[in-house]
């Protein structure tokens, strides 16, 4: 019988920090833009230029360190990592090897049905991003765009404690909601705001020492992390069971083919000649900076999840869905603030609203319907002004046309008919038009009440409030 295998996974996630300017220059940080239109002399590594550290980049790293309960170095430094590559203008990357700004810390990941696991972090350090090469544009040539060069990155390195592709994806998700909640990253995965490298090895279940690992580079979605690792685990098992050995190498995940393959021109045994960057001095994190960062620390996803369960009595699913996206959470809280029952608010936000967001591929920060209007809409259901089904139609209109809920309810003519006089009139007619049935009812065939209700609803084109109609009819038929 064949051995059972277990996988050991560690992630290195590059978090693009949401600063205005680059980490060492005053060129703007922004996605897109004409090639090299956002690369100044410093980013190009012109002769004679020098780096100066961006205070926000450092501040955001400190904020992250506090949020994951890591150790913040009161003095850290930058090193040069030396290698030649066209998207690396200076021939070295400014990074932190020996003295990272944050070491240790931890992150809780959601294992579903309320279970969670604490993953320990090795470190988080600041570094500059490289530019990008544009291939296939010109025969035999690559074009270099350095707009991204010098963009501040926080590289967050986990301990190899993740046990499965699913856990890895959950870790990536947890980190994603954390950095968004902290406001230090826009979390825009398709624009590469968070890129993940995964270290993965396999070993027979229960075996202590680690197998040889491979590194999968540049995975940029939760789904891809899961698929890339699943593929790589199968590949490694295949290699070993075929009597082969896993070779230490850097591999690339090809999403189209859904496979990983060795990265060419990338030497894993490169001698990077790290040494302290002589253009930069030791970076000191002062008490003042720490205090300020602490003060600015928002409520973290974990705490928020607990609060939602406690104060709003929401289930695990609703809690983690809502707290997973700070904007969605903010919207949800705004809706409940209008006095709507929280679970009902959650149902609408996670139901209709989220569905519409997915359909329109919009982010939760630009929901076109003001929370107040959704609050009113939900209130009208409770008040019996409008039926749940009708409310969905009204929300759709609000989503498309904006405006205020009550106006749409009125205009749509979907409001229920609650006017006693009007209803009594309709009930009266129904009874008078059907004397026989009325006779039979009075004779004890009370099942016929439904028949009369039907008549009234028909007459009111379904707008009559069924509860009121029932009462009125019962009075009419028994009363007289």
């Amino acid at each position: 019988m064949s051995t059972e295998w277990e996988s050991v996974i560690g992630l290195e996630v590059h978090v693009q920090l949401a600063t205005e300017s680059k980490i060492f220059s005053d060129a703007p940080v922004a996605a897109g833009g004409d090639p090299n239109s956002r690369a100044c002399g410093v980013d190009l590594g012109l002769p004679g230029v020098l780096p100066v550290l961006n205070e926000s980049a450092l501040g955001m790293a400190v904020t992250f360190g506090l949020a994951v309960d890591g150790k913040i170095a009161r003095e850290c430094r930058f090193d040069r990592k030396n290698y030649f590559y066209p998207d690396l203008p200076k021939g070295y990357q400014i990074s932190q090897l020996a003295e990272p700004v944050v070491s240790g810390g931890n992150l809780d990941i959601d294992l579903g049905d309320g279970r969670s696991r604490r993953i320990h972090l090795t470190r988080a350090h600041l570094e500059e991003d490289a530019g990008k090469s544009v291939h296939d544009a010109y025969a035999g040539l690559s074009g270099i765009d350095l707009n991204r060069a010098g963009t501040p990155l926080l590289e967050v390195v986990s301990e190899p404690e993740l046990k499965s592709p699913e856990e890895a994806a959950q870790y990536f998700r947890a980190l994603h909601s954390l950095v968004r909640a902290l406001g230090i990253c826009d979390g825009n995965l398709n624009e590469g705001s968070m890129r993940c490298d995964a270290n993965i090895s396999i070993r027979p279940k229960g075996c202590e020492e680690l197998g040889e690992r491979t590194e999968i580079k540049n995975i940029n979605s939760f789904r891809f992390v899961e698929r890339a690792l699943a593929f790589e685990i199968e590949r490694q098992i295949g290699v070993v069971e075929a009597g082969g050995e896993v070779v230490r190498e850097t591999r690339l995940y090809d999403a189209e083919r859904d496979e990983t393959r060795p990265m060419r021109g990338k030497e894993t045994s490169e001698d990077y000649r790290y040494f302290p960057d002589p253009d930069l001095l030791p970076v000191v994190v002062t008490d003042a900076m720490l205090a300020e960062a602490r003060a600015r620390l928002p409520e973290l996803p974990a705490a928020k999840r607990e609060r939602y369960a406690r104060d709003f009595a929401l289930d695990d699913y609703a809690c983690s869905r809502l707290t997973g996206d700070p904007d969605l959470a903010r919207y949800f809280e705004a809706v409940t603030a209008t006095g709507v029952e929280p679970r009902q608010a959650a149902n609408w936000v996670l139901g209709e609203v989220s569905a519409a967001l997915n359909r329109d591929e919009r982010d939760a920060h630009d929901i076109p319907v003001p929370a107040e209007e959704l609050g009113i809409l939900i209130a009208r259901i409770d008040e019996g002004v409008i039926s749940g089904a009708a409310a969905r139609t009204v929300l759709a209109t609000l989503w498309q046309e904006g405006g205020d809920a009550d106006a749409h309810i009125a205009a749509s003519g979907l409001a229920q008919l609650n006017d006693d006089d009007e209803l009594s009139r309709l009930a009266q007619e129904a009874v008078e038009r059907n004397p026989n049935q009325a006779e039979q009812y009075r004779a004890g065939k009370t099942k016929l009440l439904g028949f009369f209700v039907g008549q009234v609803m028909q007459a009111s084109q379904g707008k009559a409030n069924p509860r009121q109609v029932n009462e009125l009819l019962r009075e009419l038929l028994t009363g007289a």
Partner: protein, 93 residues
């Protein structure tokens, strides 16, 4: 210092030399290493490395962006550009 090391250093430094160039280099580097080895006799037990002559700390730059990047000027002397991109022989990944 041996020719194998010289090859590695040339590769790391993205430099190339012909035969006698490498021979001369091997000889010169041998002499240079001999010179720098003169510091090995100094007792540096418990002495921390000094990366900078002044004990200063890193000043921080306010996070303000200057959107005026004059690409035309910056690329005036560029050996090969097209559509604002710097051109290089095909990069294989």
């Amino acid at each position: 210092m041996d020719s194998e090391t010289v090859e590695k250093l040339l590769r790391l430094s993205a430099l190339e030399l012909d035969e006698d160039g490498r021979a001369r280099l091997l000889r010169d580097l041998g002499r240079i290493v001999a010179l720098i080895d003169e510091m090995q006799s100094v007792d540096t037990e418990g002495v921390a490395p000094l990366a900078h002559p002044l004990d200063a700390v890193q000043p921080l730059r306010p996070d303000r962006a200057d959107p005026n990047v004059d690409r035309a000027t910056l690329q005036q002397g560029a050996p090969a550009t097209r559509d604002g991109l710097y051109l290089v022989p095909r990069v294989v990944e």
